[in-house]
Amino acid sequence: MRKITVLSDVALITCIVQRGAADKIIVAAKSAGAQGATVYFARGMGVRERLGILGVAVDVEKEVINIVVSSEQVERIFEKMYFAGNLDTPGMGIMYITRVEKAATYIPPEILERLKTTPDNTEEKK
């Protein structure tokens, strides 16, 4: 019988930046322990229109980065990404954290084995 192991204590960081800016943010997130990232393209507006002539410096085309992290990592990675993307500059983008109820993916069997032996660490506790 196939079993599904779900992960708890998961958070999702979503970061919306100008096209081409995602790569260095993802590198920063990965070096802070993020496992991977999903990027998709989008169009966004708002600050661009309110900057007047300076709005030309902000690209309409955006990249949306989705990174699933553990709740212990989330603050650290969030900060790393914020500074890697220079989000303290107008027009550079916005990011937010969403609590995730559960997640499931491939978990290497040896890690599953190890977690079973230490009972107060498993997700089966839930």
Binding site: I53, A57, E75, R76, T89, P90
Partner: protein, 588 residues
């Protein structure tokens, strides 16, 4: 003694100070008017501190600046180092050249941004909407006019007019006339050629015609006209120019605008799903102008004799002793920049208002883009005459010193004859190879091709084979100038070879190979190579220094086609081996 720290404490310590404010305090509260209706909220403009402006603008500018610096600096550095280290000559006027190159970088950067923000939205809007609102003949006619307009806006076209003054009227009278009195007509005819190419390319989009018969049908008259011009000794000297015009037209303005129109029309007709149909327009846009220019020179030769030209030129030279203010820098560059962009923009506006009856979205940004493109064009023109043309003609005039005696250079020839020729040819080859490899458009083409051929034609393979072709082309062009070989003797066999290879190749490779020739001739390479060729021709007392660019066009066509054939051959033999194994296995 184990010290225990709570992980939460640890993360709080390493955290940067976070301050929390409620988003509720930032968002506006709904405002009601007297009747209880909600007044729509209009956000205020954001006022930035100067530090924020700098932070906002610096990545925006640096990305765009770097792209142009990468295109200009290595080429210029190569020319200067070659001149200083191998030829051991000082660079004359280096201050002016540095400023000129700086102007080229800035001008190109501003122009490209203006193109993206100002002209491209126009092209896309017209391409998308026009086919829905108008009948096909109207659409084709507007495409034709657009082809003429973009030719005038092409930065490299200005280079042709700049080099016109170098030609010696007594050696090549028709060439002189073409580039001086008839310069405007010349550009117009090149434009008509591009316009016709746009029409034919659009039809190809619509009906999915194969490129091969179109290439045969276009090349036949081109080669026949070339043969005719070769038979007339005075006309033969204009051939180099005619073939070079083809290479000049396919630059950063023409290709995207004409393509966006063609793609828009095809998608409106529900066709054009095949991405390969996007190719081919570039090829046509470089072949038709050649025919147009040859026809013009034949027309001139029928109506004016050589003697007429010499007479008018001498009377004109006497008459125009005083130079008008608008013929001096920087006014001539400013006028050139305005002439290039403004008619195109007015034409696009008229189409938008009277044919499409539509308003432009984001008109503020588009206006900004248009202003940028005019400004960029002016700055680029300045840089063209003071940076690229000067540097190119200077190194062109110095390179012959390696194998022949030049009056203005001490100790020339610098090397023995055979050694010197080798140095000159190597110089040309590396120049072509390097400049092409650095061209950003080639990288883009390589990616597209790798996707389209499912990885059979690797990006690097395409880039290297195109660069190899261009390098050889420029080297052959140099040889042509040194030994004064009539250009037809080189062009005819190489194009015949091109046709033969086209006949053998499959459709995809034909599309890619013929277009790769157009990609290689960017706004930096063209003026530099043109000026170099003319300076070179001048130094070795050749009749004219044109023709290098046209050699640089046929070079990659032949090299890419051969590469394609080789890949096909390999794939086939691999398949054969596999089939053999399979049948053997079955028998066993």
């Amino acid at each position: 003694m184990n010290q225990q720290i709570r992980f939460g404490d640890f993360t709080r310590e390493i955290k940067i100070n976070q301050k929390t404010i409620s988003y509720n305090e930032l968002t506006p509260k709904p405002v009601l008017d007297s009747s209880g209706q909600e007044i729509p909220f209009h956000p205020k403009k954001i006022h930035l501190r100067s530090i924020d402006v700098a932070k906002l603008l610096s990545p925006y500018i640096s990305v765009r600046l770097q792209a142009q610096v990468r295109a200009v600096v290595p080429l210029a550095l190569y020319l200067v180092l070659f001149q200083v280290l191998i030829l051991r000559q000082e660079v004359l006027d280096h201050a002016i050249i540095v400023w000129g190159l700086f102007a080229v970088i800035i001008g190109l950067m501003v122009f490209m941004e203006g193109l993206k923000l100002g002209l491209m939205p126009f092209g896309e809007l017209i391409g998308n909407r026009l086919p829905k609102k108008s009948k096909l003949p109207v659409v084709l006619f507007i495409g034709f006019l657009l082809g003429i307009g973009v030719t005038f806006a092409e930065p490299a076209i200005g280079a042709l007019q700049t080099v016109g003054s170098i030609v010696d009227i007594h050696k090549a009278p028709y060439l002189y006339v073409l580039l001086n009195q008839w310069a405007g007509t010349l550009v117009l005819l090149v434009g008509i050629g591009v316009g016709l190419a746009a029409v034919l390319g659009t039809l190809r989009f619509l009906y999915g015609w194969s490129l091969k018969p179109i290439i045969y049908a276009t090349l036949c008259p081109t080669l026949l006209l070339t043969l005719y011009c070769m038979s007339q000794p005075d006309l033969a000297k204009t051939l180099g120019l005619a073939w070079d015009c083809g290479a000049v037209t396919t630059g950063p303005v023409t290709v995207p605008l004409v393509l966006s129109l063609g793609i828009g029309i095809a998608s409106a007709a529900g066709k054009g799903s095949s991405s390969l149909s996007g190719f081919g327009i570039v090829t046509l846009a470089s072949l038709f102008p050649i025919i147009a220019v040859m026809l013009l020179s034949i027309y001139i030769s029928f109506n004016y004799s050589v003697q007429d030209i010499l007479n008018t030129a001498s009377t004109q030279a006497a008459a125009t002793q005083s130079i008008n203010w608008y013929q001096t820098t920087p006014y001539i560059e400013i006028i050139g920049g305005l002439q290039a962009i403004v008619p195109l923009v007015i034409f696009l506006f008229l189409v938008l208002i009277f044919v499409l009856k539509e308003k432009l979205q984001e008109s503020g940004i588009v206006t900004y883009g248009l202003i940028l493109s005019v400004l960029g064009m002016i700055i680029f023109n300045l840089g063209l005459s003071y940076g690229l043309a000067k540097l190119g003609s200077q190194s062109g005039s110095l390179v012959p010193a390696s194998f022949t005696h030049l009056n203005h250079i001490k100790d020339s020839p610098l090397f023995t004859y055979s050694m010197g020729i080798t140095v000159a040819i190597l110089f040309a080859w590396i120049l072509g190879f390097g400049a092409t490899l650095a061209e950003p458009a080639l990288n883009a083409l390589g990616l597209v091709v790798e996707n389209l051929t499912n990885g059979a034609f690797k990006k690097e393979m395409l880039m290297y084979s195109v660069s190899f072709g261009v390098g050889c082309g420029i080297a052959v062009g140099l040889v042509k100038i040194i030994y004064d070989i009539p250009i037809g003797y080189i062009l005819l066999p190489s194009y015949l070879l091109g046709i033969f290879l086209t006949h053998c190749s499959s459709e995809e490779f034909v599309n890619v190979a013929w277009d790769s020739a157009g990609v290689t001739t960017g706004p930096v390479t063209v003026p530099l190579v043109l000026a170099m060729g003319l300076g070179f021709g001048d130094a070795v007392n050749a009749v004219e220094g044109f023709g290098i660019l046209s050699m640089a066009s046929i070079g990659p066509i032949v090299s890419v086609l051969s590469m394609g054939l080789w890949i096909q051959y390999q794939a086939r033999s691999k398949k054969n081996v596999e089939e053999e194994l399979l049948t053997n296995g079955l028998e066993a």
